[in-house]
């Protein structure tokens, strides 16, 4: 049976909208918990973009790790540290205006740059179908070193986090 060819543009636009909206929510909401939830939505959207870009494994990793671990961790921290009760706390500092302006300039500049130097192709070469196996193979052969380094990094991060969070009582 013929798979229904999705309208990539539409899907992209949908996901883009989700991402952008969620991102805006992340940076502006007062309630930290809501921010974390918006972050989850945003990261999920990004995973969707990955799928569109034929990076399924990465999308899975994204959801698993980013959403599943990092965001949960963030929620943990939010729960542990914030005084959610207060609604009067202003969540943006005094740099807001200038920062907004700067980021606007930054974003606008980037977009302008992209528009001016539109040198990238519309379609790219075909990617191998089996995403997972390819990545797995590459990890073990070409990208062995980064893989190991990352492992060490993870280890260090773990130990560090344990040390830090343990406190003075030792």
């Amino acid at each position: 049976m013929e798979a229904v060819q999705p309208n990539v543009g539409f899907v992209f636009g949908l996901f883009a909208a989700i991402i952008i909206t969620a991102a805006l929510l992340v940076v502006t909401l007062k309630n930290m918990f809501h921010c974390a939830l918006a972050l989850i939505v945003c990261l999920s959207g990004v995973a969707g973009i990955f799928v569109l870009l034929h990076a399924e494994f990465l999308a899975a990793v994204q959801v698993l790790i980013y959403v599943g671990a990092v965001c949960i961790l963030i929620i943990f921290s939010v729960m542990l540290t914030s005084n959610l009760a207060s609604r009067q706390i202003v969540q943006t500092n005094q740099n807001a205006l200038v920062a907004g302006f700067a980021s606007l300039m930054f974003g606008g500049g980037a977009l302008l740059l992209l528009k001016m130097h539109n040198i990238w192709p519309q379609a790219g070469p075909a990617l191998p179908d089996d995403n997972v196996m390819t990545i797995g193979k590459l990890l073990m052969t070409d990208y062995m070193l980064p893989f190991e380094v990352i492992s060490v990094l993870m280890l260090a991060a773990m130990i560090g986090a344990i040390v830090l969070a343990r406190g003075e009582s030792s």
């Binding site: 500092n93 005094q94 740099n95 200038v98 920062a99 700067a102 980021s103 300039m105 930054f106 500049g109 302008l112 740059l113 001016m116």
Partner: protein, 696 residues
């Protein structure tokens, strides 16, 4: 002796040096030394005189070559001829008399030995002057004579009038010497030598152009005008009477003033070659003689009368010599040379006697004013009668010496009517004022009894020279008796020997003139039949004019001295204000400059240093707020800059030139930074004490 004639001059010099260095405090010894030296000189002069006489006046010259400069030889030498021999005798005789007289006159003076030292120095100078054989040497001694006369006139320098008189004498003769120097320079230029013989040879031989010769003659005569107190430089001689009387006798009667006459006589070859120059000389002589005689008529100071008499007689001599030169230049015969030099000799004797006698009178009555004297013949016999003899001699009474010399002078003027009349008039005046002086001083009733009572005859040491000079006044002229075939005129002559027989008419005329003068004085001042006061009243303007010496001193004061003093004042002002002002001004400028540099140092140099510190502080004060401690702020800053750089790098915004806008952006950024930091600081202030400051 003649080859060693210079010893005569060196003896008084030796006396001077000895007194100055060794004998200062031994008064009697210095007087004795000085007198013995000059008496020795007199003896030697006598020997030289007779030797010269034996040679019939042939000149003897000996010299010592010193150096040559610009083609002119400079030498020290002596020239002994008849004129020299006469002058030597005159100087040493009168000098010896004066020195012996001074022993008595200056007896109580505190500077006794200095006086004798000066007298010796003067005698040395005068003898050197007459012995010189070239113009250079005579000029040296000329100046020395001037110097010593200054020293002697202002001997009593505590009196301001004496000091002033000395200055006046020196300066006035100096003016004459200026002319003399010009004359010397002309001689050196045109004759090429200073030696007398050489110069006269050139002058007579016609090697010097006539106009130049006349000018030279007149300039040389200027020296004589100054030294012999001729018009217009006669003003110093009467004032020079401030000096002691022996000084007046020696210098201003016999010797120094005769130096001018000697100079004219010596330079006769020059004057005899230029008729115009010689006429100038003669005219000045006549004018001088007349002016001085007229002033002498009404003076009351005994020495001043004698001083004016000296000026007048000097005028006679100069006139005679001038007329001689004039006549000789024109080829005529004249007895002027003989007359002038003879009068020089006789005048030295009787004028010296007159002064010494006046000194004797002054010594007795302690006043110079003849109006306070009178009747002194009773008290001072020797003085009186020697004085009378001298007065007769000067008036020209037969057979005294003055008669013969004055007669010769009148004879010289025979061919010049103006001069003839003038000479006789002056002779009349001379006789008149001399006997006025005699009658008022020695005869009649004493006018001041106090002085009369104290008057006494002078000691022998003073009257001795008076007698000696009186004898000479009588006999000295007998040498020139016209009846003699080998008399004075065959010894002292110029050119050929000229011998004239006695001119009886002339003798008669001059005698009548002299006697009438004496008679008038007798009538006015002895018999009082003609009143002097009434005559003075009737001719009041003339009397005042004569009494005030023809106002010469006032004229010179106004025309010459006051302007010169004004110029001196101007110079002083210039020096004080401009030159000192310039010095002070440069000091002020230096201070000002150092102030400027101080300002510069404080404001600019230190300013740069302080300013850089200030700048750093300001910059730091502004930039430190960048270190807000807030990481988010750092991030913002980074982003802003990235945006900016990206904008320019990727040319997102089109701009012609980027650097002004970059600079503008930076400046705006700095301002914004300041603004932000102000706000932050304010906010920090608002939150009283931030807990962040505490340590973790």
């Amino acid at each position: 002796m003649t080859p060693y004639a210079y010893i005569i001059a060196l003896l008084p010099l030796f006396a001077f040096l000895m007194i100055v260095f060794f004998l200062r405090w031994k008064e009697q010894v210095s007087a004795l030394f000085s007198i013995s030296m000059i008496v020795l000189g007199w003896v030697f002069s006598l020997i030289v005189f007779f030797e010269t006489l034996a040679r019939h006046g042939e000149p003897y010259e000996a010299f010592f070559y010193i150096t040559s400069f610009a083609g002119i030889n400079f030498e020290l030498g002596i020239l002994v001829d008849s004129l020299t021999a006469i002058m030597l005798m005159v100087v040493t005789t009168v000098g010896a008399c004066v020195q012996i007289y001074s022993v008595g006159y200056m007896k109580d003076d505190p500077r006794y030995s200095r006086f004798f030292a000066y007298l010796s120095l003067f005698t040395f100078s005068m003898l050197g002057l007459v012995l010189a054989n070239n113009f250079f040497m005579i000029f040296i001694f000329w100046e020395l004579v001037g110097l010593t006369s200054y020293l002697l006139i202002s001997f009593w320098f505590e009196k301001k009038s004496a000091a002033d008189a000395g200055k006046k004498a020196f300066i006035t003769t100096r003016i004459g010497d200026l002319g003399f120097i010009v004359g010397l320079m002309m001689i050196a230029t045109y004759a090429g030598t200073f030696n007398y013989q050489g110069v006269f040879a050139k002058a007579v031989g016609g090697y010097i152009p006539a106009g130049i010769l006349t000018m030279t003659a007149i300039f040389v005569f200027c020296g004589a005008v100054g030294k012999s107190a001729q018009f217009p430089l006669h003003v110093w001689l009467p004032d020079a009477m401030e000096g002691p009387t022996p000084v007046s006798a020696l210098i201003h009667a016999a010797t120094m003033v005769a130096a001018g006459v000697y100079l004219v006589a010596r330079c006769m070859p020059i004057f005899a070659s230029t008729a115009d120059g010689a006429m100038v000389v003669a005219t000045i002589g006549l004018i001088t003689s007349f002016i001085a005689a007229s002033i002498g008529l009404v003076q009351n100071d005994i020495k001043r009368i004698l001083a004016y008499s000296t000026v007048s007689q000097l005028g006679y001599m100069i006139m005679a010599l001038g007329l001689f030169g004039h006549d000789t230049a024109l080829g005529e015969e004249s007895v002027g040379y003989t007359a002038g030099t003879l009068h020089l000799m006789t005048h030295a004797f009787f004028k010296g006697l007159l002064f010494l006698g006046a000194g004797s009178v002054i010594h007795a009555v302690h006043t110079n004013d003849i109006q306070d004297m009178g009747g002194l013949s009773n008290k001072m016999k020797i003085t009186t009668w020697t004085f009378i003899i001298a007065s007769l001699s000067i008036s020209g009474i037969f057979p005294l010496s003055g008669f013969w010399s004055k007669d010769e002078i009148v004879a010289t003027t025979l061919h010049h009517p103006v001069f003839f009349v003038g000479t006789l008039t002056i002779a009349f005046m001379t006789a008149f004022y001399m006997f006025r002086l005699c009658f008022l001083t020695f005869f009649g009733k004493p006018r001041d009894h106090h002085r009369y009572d104290h008057a006494h005859e002078s000691p022998k040491v003073m009257t001795g020279p008076l007698v000696l000079l009186a004898v000479l006044s009588v006999i000295a002229g007998w040498w020139a008796l016209p009846w003699l075939s080998h008399g004075y005129s065959s010894f002292v002559h110029f050119g050929e020997v000229r011998h004239e027989g006695p001119n009886y008419l002339l003798m008669l005329i001059s005698t009548i003139v002299a006697v009438s003068g004496i008679t008038l004085a007798y009538l006015m001042y002895y018999r009082r039949s003609i009143s002097a006061e009434k005559a003075a009243e009737r001719f009041k303007p003339v009397y005042t004019f004569l009494y005030n010496k023809w106002y010469f001193d006032e004229l010179y004061q106004a025309v010459i001295i006051d302007p010169i003093m004004k110029v001196a004042d101007l110079m002083w002002n210039f020096d004080a204000k401009v030159i000192d002002g310039a010095v002070n001004g440069s000091a002020w400028l230096t201070v000002l400059w150092s102030d400027v540099k101080l300002w510069f140092d404080i404001w600019i140099v230190d300013g740069a240093v302080n300013g850089s510190g200030w700048l750093v502080r300001q910059l730091g004060g502004g930039l430190r707020y960048l270190q807000s401690g807030s990481m988010q702020f750092y991030a913002l800053f980074i982003v802003a800059l990235i945006v900016l750089i990206a904008a320019f790098k990727f040319e997102l915004v089109s701009m012609a030139t980027s650097w002004p806008f970059m600079t503008l952006a930076l400046a705006l950024g700095f301002v914004a930074l300041r603004f932000y930091s102000r706000i932050t600081a304010a906010r920090e202030e608002a939150q009283a004490g931030s807990p962040n400051k505490e340590k973790l």
